[in-house]
């Protein structure tokens, strides 16, 4: 018998009728703890929604203080999509026009493609204190923030030049949604993914043309543009998943969360046909290992003490178990689990001058845990969590896929399935 997810008497898709005013969500809101100007998830969400349904004039601009971490939704015992209610209210009712600064922060791909073209110039420029002061004063981007470095060669360019051809040597194939960060800032993560997937026997391909998932556009109120990009991406995913029978994997938890859940819930872009086969690389790999279809062989000399941080959108997806299970499979890993807490950056939120204090206040308990954890480094699936943790603690951060890439004995892993497929063909 299938569980009835939506109650028969709901008028909404976000279950707001199911709120029993129990206040549990308010306990888990990281913003409420540090910024009393925020009315909190219950007031901003289901309580406020009742008023807004009567008169949109009740909309409160303070709702922009919501991080969209969705921790209220994870806590809610009655399945109320509190975060969605708040985001929808912002989309529907906010009168505030996005500022020039917001457009710069939101257009990660346009800015990324310009910045990576001039990377040798841009990187030292934005790292300069006077430049950061100017950005702080003029653009209201907080001067504490250090922009992630832009790579000289984009991941896509590297892939076409050096990796594309080899991918046809494999029998099984996946597409890779690399996201803006891998493309413009950190191509190494994409290279690591290809290394692992190849070791597992999969060729890795790019989508016909991927666009930024649009998460920053949504949070900065550029909904029209976000919807356009969402439609484009869903079509690109369909071509891979339906036409070519290639599932799509990604290394960014927020990109994949946005594509799977925010597209239909916030933008009204249907993704039924592609949702199940759009996932994180760690989940894809875990499934193979768990079902006995893949064996990973690790190097004997890899020894590290690693703490895993659960990004908010991983908490919402419930998928951190895949990343942590893979890390725990590495024999030389001494694994430390951090208590799941928001780091406070929330994408572009923490970059804004007006949010800096809230952002750091939210993250403090996590930073304290990390600083006192005595680990070699922190592992996490989210790029903006990485920036935040690296800026605010004494530890560096690595993606689980990059850790696997370093610890994996590629040859030995490949040999296992090559032997097997040789046996089968005999």
């Amino acid at each position: 018998m299938k569980k009835e997810i939506f109650e028969p008497f709901n008028i909404s898709d976000n279950n707001f009728e199911q709120c029993v005013k129990c206040t549990i969500c308010t306990v888990y809101c990281p913003v409420l703890e540090v910024n009393p100007d925020y009315p909190g998830p219950k007031q901003s969400g289901p309580d406020g929604e009742r008023l807004r349904l009567k008169d949109p004039g009740f909309y409160d601009e303070a709702l922009k203080l919501c991080l969209n971490c969705k921790r209220c939704e994870v806590a809610c015992p009655h399945g109320v999509k509190i975060g969605d209610i708040i985001q929808m209210a912002r989309i529907k009712h906010s009168k505030k026009k996005p500022k020039f600064r917001d457009m710069i922060l939101a257009n990660t791909d346009i800015v990324g493609s310009m910045a990576s073209t001039f990377a040798p110039l841009v990187n030292p420029m934005v790292a300069l204190k006077p430049v950061r002061r100017i950005m702080d004063g003029v653009l209201k981007i907080d001067h504490h923030r250090i922009f992630p470095k832009y790579a000289g060669m984009r991941f896509e360019t590297w892939y076409r030049r050096y990796a594309a051809k080899k991918q046809m040597d494999f029998k099984k194939h996946v597409s890779y949604f690399h996201g803006c960060y891998v493309n413009y800032n950190f191509p190494q993560q994409g290279k690591d993914l290809i290394k692992i997937m190849n070791a597992a026997g999969y060729g890795v391909h790019l989508l016909e043309k991927e666009k930024c998932c649009g998460v920053a556009l949504i949070s900065n109120g550029l909904i029209k543009q976000a919807t356009k990009q969402a439609r484009h991406n869903v079509e690109a995913f369909k071509k891979s998943i339906i036409d070519k029978k290639m599932p799509v994997i990604s290394t960014s938890s927020t990109c994949i969360f946005t594509i799977r859940d925010e597209y239909p819930h916030l933008l009204g872009v249907e993704n039924n046909e592609i949702r199940d086969e759009s996932e994180l690389a760690t989940r894809f790999l875990f499934r193979l290992v768990d079902s006995g279809k893949l064996k990973l062989v690790f190097k004997k000399n890899y020894k590290k003490r690693i703490a895993y941080h659960t990004p908010c959108h991983m908490e919402k997806l419930g998928w951190s178990i895949y990343s942590t299970s893979l890390l725990r499979m590495i024999p030389g890993v001494d694994f430390v689990s951090l208590e799941s807490r928001c780091c406070g950056i929330a994408g572009t939120y923490g970059f804004k001058k007006e949010n800096y204090e809230t952002s750091q206040g939210v993250g403090k308990p996590l930073f304290d845990q990390i600083d006192s954890s005595d680990v070699d480094f922190v592992a996490t699936d989210c790029e903006t969590c990485k920036w935040q943790i690296e800026m605010s603690t004494s530890r560096s951060v690595q993606h689980p896929i990059s850790i696997l890439a370093e610890a994996l004995d590629v040859e030995a892993t490949m040999k296992l399935w090559q032997n097997e497929s040789a046996e089968i063909s005999l």
């Binding site: 018998m1 569980k3 206040t23 409420l32 909190g40 007031q43 015992p77 399945g79």
Partner: protein, 413 residues
Amino acid sequence: MKFDNIIIGGGLSGLTCGIKLAEQGRKCAIVSSGQSAIHFFSGSFDLLGQVNGEEVSHPIEAIKNLADTHPYQRVGIENIGRLAEEAPQLLNRAGLKFCGKADQNHFVLTPMGVMKPSWLTLDDFTCFDQKHSFPWKKVLILNFSGFLDFHTLFVKDGLKKFEVDSQIKNIAMKAFEAIRKNPSEMRSTNIAKVFDKGDVLDEFVKKANLLSEGFEVIILPSVFGLFNKKVVDELKAKVNKPVVLVPAIPPSVPGIRSQMLLSRRFQELGGTFFMGDNVEEGYFENNRLMDIRTNNHGDIKLEADAFILASGSFYSKGIVATHDKLYEPIFGLDIDGDTDRSQWLDEKFFKDQPYMHFGVKADSNFRALMKGQAIENLYVAGSVLGGANALKEGSGAGISLLTSLHVVEQILK
């Protein structure tokens, strides 16, 4: 994904099962649709407070007078005493300390200002041995200015019956101005967070000591020690009069702390907690539950040798009633409840309501029934079992704890 045991439901019952199984070395997972009713915890666990309208003093004795279908009777009188000894020890290992015994109820002061019988009371609170008197005669009831979740007048009125002379005073402090700005967020948890952060307690104690001159005892809302129990101990040590804490309106500070300690204990023992996930479907073969499909994990199914359904009663949607039917929403298990809707309710609101007794049907080993057949490896524990009006009896926590321990014993056999 394979586990030894999977528990559906992350409340008191599910956590008790999970902790006990994990202590025995089982690889366990808990799937919970969200945070649990432990967030509304009054601070006291009741075993049995009332039978047939009569107040109970000796719960273990009184259990004999319950109907044969009552969960306690089904666990067996011969087991109840032993399990009632075991429960506080298990909780204690998670860091929860209680006063109280199973063979004799004690009393706690409720927010309504009356004395209620109870079994185990968290050491934040005060255990009394008399129902009709209060050990102090001059009482200061202290609240925080702007805090609406503590109804001082109820307490004052209640204490009047004990011939106690009480006075209400409010404390205003700069540290609380920020949370007062937002009237909907002047909540117990937010006050507790301010105290948790450190230096405010001393200032509060100074004011409390000043205000309490001429009084014998201070009554305060329970808003201390959300993440850190030390705040409660420090408060009691530094205030120079005895302090009696009284539960405030939820969210409950000691409740959330208890929830955190229990789930931390479970995870430290190697348990996996899937929070915010729903079980959508189960796959059965030859009267066995093979695996379950959840909303978050989709095609990666969760397998186990044995499963426990600890999904709660109506409030937690462990069972659901619509206009025309009563059902168990995850697997469609058999329900022990009337099929005729007119028999669900007694028109007299305060009567023992029939629907309060509804739950999932289980055999004598607490295995769930489906179409009359017991599912060999699917057990039922906690309030989803039915067979009792926990509200009327004051037996909810006892049923959760003891049926859970009992079910785990069946699995470990």
